[in-house]
Point group: C2
Chain length 208, copies 2
DNA sequence: ACCTCCATTGGACTAAGGTCCAATTTACAC
DNA sequence: GTGTAAATTGGACCTTAGTCCAATGGAGGT
């Protein structure tokens, strides 16, 4: 599948704001989608490509901060740029602590928002690559049988075949077979590469 | 050397604020040091133990944000809690983007500041452990001779001795010797552990 | 019943890594 | 010049890992 087009999502209960931002964003050649409420945005299926979210803080129903929490809870990672007409410092600090990329009090210039959007899309692009690689690794790990997985985690901590065999109550020969399958399924040629993948997948490596 | 005591640094040009914060911080059993200006703080040698910085934004001479930049530039990593009487949202956002742990507009409650301080000290404690481990690893890497280092970086990418030998124009035998020294100097028993250390030190591991 | 996947193990080898002992050459500092 | 550290290489040998071929037994699905 080809790389999906970047999209800028806008969530604001004020239709005129949505319309203005939509026009601004399209004026620089980016695709935009606007939503009148957090719930409407949540109904849209996640976009398969770089995206970011321009989010009003104050809205009826779910507020912008609520939506941020909601998205974090469901592991829907997307860079958020907050905009607000009546924000205060604690609110901005809370939003930034929760990972927002920017927080723009109205009035802001077109350029300020566009700069923030480009930074956010750039950030999301990198984050997506990271996630894609990670899910690729985890897919491979998922293809391991239970026994292979047991061998895998021990190999990446530097255990010898004989040690693994003893710990798992099997013969060294059996471990060799599992180990070979692990290397093949994970698509690596060396222990170094295997450890490299394990680190990325967050699998405990040596104690140091 | 034993673990150094945590210290909370306070930088504020208002002597009465310094005094009040000093009393507050000491009241919960923490050590405090106050400075009337950023320059005074910069003159103090870095503390060898957990610490954090409570920093006023608006000051004559170097401002709080200036000091934050200054510290970042000289790699002096310390969690910063900003306090201010006349801050605005963009200022707080900038500070948070630059890594501040909190940003408290006056008036704030004693508890708010103390909570922030405890969080900051906790964060610094973890960061210090990270840095200590990293510098320990880098010290060991630094003890490698140039040739050993060349072998090291190739081993952690999964190259075979014979491949390394060919690439470095030496015999496989020589590589074995260097490799053995690398393992010894780095204090590891297995390639897995070696790769683990290399990852932490940011040394390029396999492409994959 | 039959088939597939998983787990196991053996034998026979090949290849790769590691160890011990020993020796040479070069560069640089005292 | 002498000494030290670094880089090199050989030989002999042992330990580990990996490969090819072959085979058995159990669990679960068709």
């Amino acid at each position: 599948m080809k790389a999906a087009e970047p999209i800028v999502f806008v969530v604001d209960d004020d239709a005129s704001v949505c319309k203005a931002l939509d026009r601004l964003i399209r004026s620089v050649g980016l695709k935009a989608e606007t939503f009148p409420s957090a719930k409407d945005f949540l109904r849209r299926e996640p976009h398969n490509g770089p995206s970011c979210l321009v989010l009003d803080i104050r809205m009826p129903g779910l507020s912008g901060l609520d939506l941020q929490r909601e998205l974090a809870a469901k592991d829907y990672s997307i860079p958020i740029i907050f905009i607000t007409g009546h924000g205060d410092i604690p609110m901005s600090v809370q939003a930034m602590k929760a990972g927002a990329v920017d927080f723009l009090p109205k009035p802001f210039s077109d350029q300020e928002l566009l700069d923030a959007i480009h930074a956010a899309l750039e950030k999301d692009t990198l984050a997506r690559e990271e996630r894609a690689e990670l899910s690729n690794i985890q897919r491979r790990i998922g293809s391991l049988t239970p026994r292979e997985h047991e061998v895998f985690v021990r190999v990446v901590t530097g255990m010898l075949n004989k040690q693994i065999a003893w710990e798992l109550g099997a013969s060294e020969k059996t471990i060799k077979v599992h180990r070979a399958r692990v290397m093949e399924k994970m698509g690596v040629q060396s222990v170094a590469e295997l450890v490299h993948l394990a680190e990325k997948a967050g699998i405990p490596t040596p104690k140091v």
